[in-house]
Assembly symmetry: C2
Amino acid sequence: MSSAMASVQLNGTSTGTPAAAAPFLTDAMKLINSVKTFIFDCDGVIWKGDKLIDGVPETLDMLHAMGKRLVFVTNNSTKSRKQYAKKFDSLGLNVAEEEIFPSSFAAAAYLKSVNFPSNKKVYVVGEGGIQLELTQAGISHIGGPEDGDKKIELAPGQIMDHDHHVGAVVVGFDRFFNYYKLQYATLCLRENPGCLFIATNCDAITYLTYAQEWAGGGAMVGALKATTNKEPVVVGKPSTFLMDYLASEFQINKSEICMVGDRLDTDILFGQNGSCRTLLVLSGVTSLDALQSPENSIQPDAYINQLSDLLSAKKSASA
Amino acid sequence: MSSAMASVQLNGTSTGTPAAAAPFLTDAMKLINSVKTFIFDCDGVIWKGDKLIDGVPETLDMLHAMGKRLVFVTNNSTKSRKQYAKKFDSLGLNVAEEEIFPSSFAAAAYLKSVNFPSNKKVYVVGEGGIQLELTQAGISHIGGPEDGDKKIELAPGQIMDHDHHVGAVVVGFDRFFNYYKLQYATLCLRENPGCLFIATNCDAITYLTYAQEWAGGGAMVGALKATTNKEPVVVGKPSTFLMDYLASEFQINKSEICMVGDRLDTDILFGQNGSCRTLLVLSGVTSLDALQSPENSIQPDAYINQLSDLLSAKKSASA
């Protein structure tokens, strides 16, 4: 980052940037006082991989002390709510399972919201989190990791059998995606009448490690879109399902929510699609250059460098 | 098929079907006399899996004897021209390698047509046919089947290295598609400047066995479209690349070509995109019901039950 850009950030002026570009958040107290709920993306906001981002515990404590409701969402479907609660705990953060909403949970919540029949089951393309959430919701499921090593040895006239009681295919990021799962899910979607096609997310990239960009859950969804000519219901960000669910579950007014995230096309769009306030942090995948690029059409209400900037704002206000 | 429909076929009348629906070909001799070249799709026209369709050898012999040029195309990229020539031979058909154009060959021909630099290489997502054609064309390549068993064992901070000399990713049907190949191809397409994205086809389904529909090469392409936000150059049917190539290679006039195939959205569209005559055979994946469905917008010039209908037409004309 150039020093000129650094000074733009620090001073909160927008000299040299397009008029529509989001400003640096100069009056954090005003934002904090104007909302009742903060929804945080996790990776790039709270932690990076397995490392807590500096100042996060103190910032969350401050917001809690000010009576704010804190909610955590992530498009990562490889873990369940319970597994995420353990991760928060291992990082020294006191967050309850009920405050965490991964897209694995969103998939199960969506199925419950449409009264998924109890005599039907789900075929899972994805890792363990989706299965755990479906089990928790009392929904039968097959597939998932146990199909990760399956291969199709072809013989003339061969047919792959599939379960005609599969009423939904849930697709999440899957490092063990293979042709067996692709064909099984395709058969369910093409041949089982009314079979639902549910995507936890359509992200192009994900951060398995922060050292580089990794192919994301959009790949598995894209493969199945191509074989079925169907469009999935997306339950993760930036679709509005989870925001509507949160607003209903906690009886909160969307205009009193601030969505905080590090990605423009998922987090900030999620907030905007839900008519919430939006705050970008630069501690994750979006750089100031990317935010201010003429090619970027998604502008948050404001941006900060990292979550703990809110903490220093409080200190300044109290000084 | 209902007897009413059978009678529509046999009589060549279109009673009860929409005005725009393609008629049964009643005057095969007129068609044969009006064109100089026949382009045949293979699977569903010449053979089904490993079984030759009745009457094909005699029909091809007749067309040859009448001085017609016969050319064979297939979107299947798992075999090379040479491998297909062996398959024709094993079925008792005398077809030269140079008359066969699988999409594996089309991918190599496309790279040659754009003067793919000799210091660059191709990353292959697909089976053996693509590799053999690239080698035949003198183009370096990596990936393909040898990456079929590779897995990514994650460690903190891990990076997947990739070859910065990869100047094109060629994607074909791949029964051994996995996350390793997905990530490798994604890195090449996202990070190597100007890297070409070439799809042998975007077929939703393929016929590994004729006992059912199997997820097709569109899946692997769809996965990479999702991770790169790029659109591929498609070299197989129904794109016009191969038709233009054939017209140029053989110095043939497209209006004197008849494209014969069993699939509306690949074969017939390929012929129509190339301004050729089009003839559908019902010996493959398209049923008369599907052809005449109000939902079908692709109508060939005419249809026959199977290729040997041309033979009986000749016999009737000579009688």
